[in-house]
Amino acid sequence: MKSERLTAIRSGNKRTLAKAITLLESSLDEHKEESRELVDEALAYSGKSLRIGITGVPGVGKSTFIEALGLHLLSDGFKVAVLAVDPSSPLTGGSILGDKTRMELLSREKSAFIRPSPTSGSLGGVAQKTRETILLCEAAGYNIVLIETVGVGQSEYHVSGMVDFFLVMMLPGGGDELQGLKKGILELADGMIINKCDGDTIQSANISKQQYISALGLLSQPEYWSTPVLTCSSFDKNDVVKVWNMISEYFDLVKNNGELENRRNKQNVDWMNALIKEVLIGRLNSSSEVRSLLVKLEGSVKNMEITPYAAASEVIHALDLS
């Protein structure tokens, strides 16, 4: 049975969509249950967007680029959702989410929906719910979903596993150290841009571009697409359009050759696995008997009274009974 909530989301009610995302992000068990049902329902109406992940070190210009790209896409008639995963402040504090200050014009637009999410909390936090959030945005009719994620830590791996196109942004210069990004990120990239190619940096941007092209040349790439490297100034509309043309070329290609579907199907398998883990861990934590057994066994393992293997099977057994 279709819930009222989904009907409201599909009719474009932003309040409902936003509240539903909060539900997805919630750490409460009852909310998790509820949100799984909602996502399951929404699935039938999802899948119709282009999902684009954008990563890079803080300050590289992701938000500024998204502001420019988003406005361009709106003028092309798209409806754009932006999901921004901000780094949380250190230690125990909350986050300051200033994303909309960088997307001032885009955030005013009726056809744009921008949702910054804090990453704080356990286990990578709400960023883990980004996939589900994408689905809800699609059900709400957004046909482009841009996901901004900080390219330090783990979030870029998560995000690249849930998008159709993964764009990596770099700064001019410093190509050799890869600017604090892990080398592995190149393997995730479907496209790269050297941003801030304006003013004094044009020359070094072009040098960086060559360096990245040769670095990418060493990686194995699919036959149908080799990761392009473009220079860009996010302040220059033409540059942003140039990047967009590159991305849409990719989509034309993978829609026709079936790779888009392939990729999404593979991602669904990952998603399933992630969900299984999540549910199991949830169950571990929700049964107080199992939890106390776990605590007890941790002690026993530490004291070498029981082997890790035996302890694990004991927990699984208890879980079966609970």
Binding site: K19, G93, L97, G98, L105
Partner: protein, 719 residues
């Protein structure tokens, strides 16, 4: 006749230390050394040893390096100019006020424009509905300018105008108004602030991005150096930095670095150093740190002389730093407001001992609203008393030769030099601003200061110590902005109906083309446009279409406030309460801190945001200058529990109710709205009636606010 030493053997410094130790019951005198925000150590006693090696210890006033003053006889010859910054409502109302002040002993005019004008919007623009005439006077065309200066002889009375963003149409409007009054521009004297760099850093009334903004400054300096020999083309301002949180060293360093950047701009525009340097002026803020403020002003003159010297001037006037000063508004309190008269007096004395050329003294109702007539009178009289009842003016640089003062002057100068070097290394201030570092430094200083005050480490009488429950009644100047807006809109309509539209369109096109090509003088063209009755907004648009509008670079400090509170029990209690909240709600309490309308006061919003995040809230920030409709959309999309409006420029009664309405339209009436900032007490009930849950005025300790906000959210989500 033998010397004194032969007759009496004076005790030594060691003898003093011994004695001090005894009198301090065994503690060392080093315990009495205090460190202030600048990181400069201030000792309990200074002696000749402290000025050893200081090269300028025997300098003289009126002579290089000008530490002791710009002129040989200073106030003994002629006292400083009393110049009170004012402006509100319509041109008519402000004009009446200026005439009254001049009659009452004021010696020059200083115009405060409203925020719509500052940002290049006409009064009929939809983004400024709450701002027209509120925090300054509304000016749309030269007709308003003519009213503003009606019966004020512009060849005799010097006029200072605080205008930076819409500097071209305003300066041009002033020139044309004088022209039509029969005064030639060559006879105009006064100052236009025209200091855009600090706008990007702290004052926030920019329009165009830094590059084109600097071009405009180049055009103005070029034009004025030829056409307006008695007019100061720029007032390089540290005042706003101090008010935004900078300590004296930061204020000094960044202001001088700005000055250096303007010199380069003018040279690049083709001028020689002596063509314009004598017409550069400065503007300092003077707070409660008495000795340091005097030292800062002395050091500034010396450093500026050195800076200008690099450019090989021939005219000695090029290297003399002349300055205006304003006492600190930030140091004034809403609580026990009559204390503010005392604070202002002390600050005014520091400005005078520092050798200012002109001075504004703040009114006792500073933290409540624009000055009432009564409060403005007392503020002005404070200066008259200093000039005419004390003998302070009789002696030039009375602190000269003080071991302490010479030593502090030396120390703050070298601190500033270090900071300036950092800016130079970044490629000068215009470049440094792009990185956001200077702004962030100032915000960090503001957060630290807030924590020191909230923890009671820095005392503010009536706020965090010696508080009183007595409420003094103070008059509040209230402006009906709706009415001002309506009358401005009507006047714009009349003017537009009567002017030669075709001719004007031609000139506006010329302005756009001049902006595009980079050749020609934008001020010259703007004067033509203003003669043809262009509006401020039209001229601004003609350039915006080429230059674009600058978007604020919002960066935020984190951890600074929280660090000061480590191990504080009250703080830990809030943290624990937030943990409980998360357990019950599934997420942190989430608040959108927003700035609406053209109000650019962001110090409070930033400090609150960073502190709330440190204690455990998720805090969203709105872009500056949002409309209520936009804020409601942000609140909904981010699904916040609460919207915290920070309002200082008086538009709360227009914009907060609109926000509440917009939230309702978006099905989000449960979103809680609270308000902070400068809200007169008499407006509280009206805001509560609209649905505002809580109001936090100036002086609110942030942990207290955080606790209360948490309670409000928890209450509504009922647990």
């Amino acid at each position: 006749m033998g010397s004194l030493e032969e007759k009496v053997k004076l005790p030594s410094l060691d003898d003093w230390k011994e004695l001090a130790k005894v009198q301090m019951k065994g503690r060392s005198v080093d315990d009495l050394v205090s460190q202030n925000g600048e990181g400069i150590l201030v000792k309990p006693l200074y002696t000749e040893n402290d000025i050893e090696g200081i090269s300028f210890r025997d300098s003289l006033p009126g002579l290089p390096p000008y530490i002791r003053g710009t002129q040989a006889t200073m106030y003994a010859g002629r006292p400083w100019t009393i110049r009170q910054y004012a402006g509100f409502s319509t041109a008519e109302a402000s004009n009446a006020f200026y005439k009254k002040t001049l009659a009452g002993g004021g010696q020059g005019i200083s115009v405060a424009f409203d925020l719509a004008t500052h940002r290049g919007y006409d009064s009929d623009h939809p983004r400024v509905s709450g701002d027209v005439g509120k925090a300054g006077v509304a000016i749309d065309t030269v007709e308003d300018m003519k009213i503003l200066f009606d019966q004020i002889p512009l060849d005799k009375i010097s006029v200072s105008m605080t205008m930076n963003g819409a500097v071209l149409p305003i300066l041009a409007g002033y020139i044309v108004a004088a022209e039509e009054q029969g005064v030639s521009r060559t006879d105009l004297s006064g100052t236009i602030q025209n200091d855009i760099l600090k706008e990007f850093m702290v004052r926030n009334t920019y329009i165009y991005p830094p590059g084109p903004s600097m071009r405009i400054i180049g055009d103005i300096i070029t034009y004025c150096s030829m056409e307006m020999p008695r007019f100061n083309t720029i007032s390089i301002s540290g005042y706003h930095m101090q008010e935004a949180g900078a300590d004296a060293a930061l204020e000094l360093a960044y202001t001088l670095a700005d000055g250096k950047e303007y010199i380069r701009t003018a040279l690049k525009a083709g001028l020689g150093i002596d063509d314009f340097a004598p017409r550069l002026s400065f503007f300092w803020g003077i707070g409660m740190n008495f000795y340091m403020e005097i030292a800062k002003m002395r050091a500034a003159r010396m450093l500026w002389h050195d800076i200008v010297d690099e450019f090989k001037p021939i005219n000695p006037k090029s290297g003399i730093l002349r300055t205006h000063c304003q006492t600190s508004g930030w140091s004034l309190t809403e609580q026990d407001p009559y204390n503010n008269v005392v604070r202002t007096t002390i600050e005014a004395m520091a400005a005078v001992f520092g050798g200012t050329q002109s001075l504004h003294t703040n009114a006792l109702d500073e933290a409540i609203a624009l000055p009432s007539e009564f409060a403005a009178r007392i503020a002005r009289n404070t200066q008259l008393i200093l000039q005419e009842e004390t003998s302070i003016t009789d002696v030039v640089d009375p602190w000269g030769g003080s071991y302490m003062m010479e030593s502090l002057t030396d120390q703050i100068a070298s601190k500033a030099l270090d900071l300036m070097e950092e800016i130079e290394a970044a490629g000068g201030m215009a470049k440094a601003i792009e990185t956001g570092l200077p702004k962030l430094r100032i915000e960090e200083a503001a957060a630290k200061k807030q924590a020191r005050i909230d923890r009671g480490e820095e005392v503010i009488v009536g706020v965090n110590k010696y508080t009183t429950t007595e409420q003094d009644e103070v008059d509040v100047l209230e402006i009906d902005n709706e009415q001002v807006r309506e009358s401005q809109i009507n006047r714009i309509k009349e003017i537009k109906a009567k002017r030669n539209q075709e001719a004007l369109d031609g000139v506006l096109d010329d302005i756009s083309n001049c902006a595009k090509s980079g050749t020609g003088n934008l001020l010259e063209l703007t004067i033509e446009a203003m003669r043809l009755r262009a509006t401020v907004g039209e001229v601004s648009d003609a350039m915006e279409s080429v230059f674009g509008r600058y978007k604020a670079q919002t960066q935020t400090v984190t951890g600074v406030y929280g660090d000061a509170y480590q191990d504080d029990q009250g703080w830990m209690e809030i943290k624990t309460a937030i943990e409980r909240f998360i357990e019950a709600e599934g997420r942190r309490p989430r608040m959108l801190v927003c700035k609406m309308g053209q109000d650019g006061h962001d110090r409070g919003a930033k400090v609150v945001a960073t502190a709330f995040a440190d204690v455990g809230f998720d805090v969203d920030l709105s872009p500056m200058f949002s409309t209520p409709e936009e804020v409601a959309k942000q609140a909904v999309e981010n699904d916040v529990h609460i919207v915290g409006v920070s309002s200082l420029a008086g538009s709360h009664k227009s914009l907060v109710p609109q926000l509440i309405t917009e939230l309702k339209i978006l099905d989000a009436k449960e979103v809680i709205v609270i308000v902070g900032g400068v809200i007169p007490k008499k407006d509280y009930q009206e805001l509560f009636d609209y649905g505002v849950k809580c109001i936090f005025g100036p002086g609110t300790p942030i942990p207290k606010a955080a606790g209360e906000v948490l309670d409000i959210i928890a209450d509504i989500h009922s647990f």
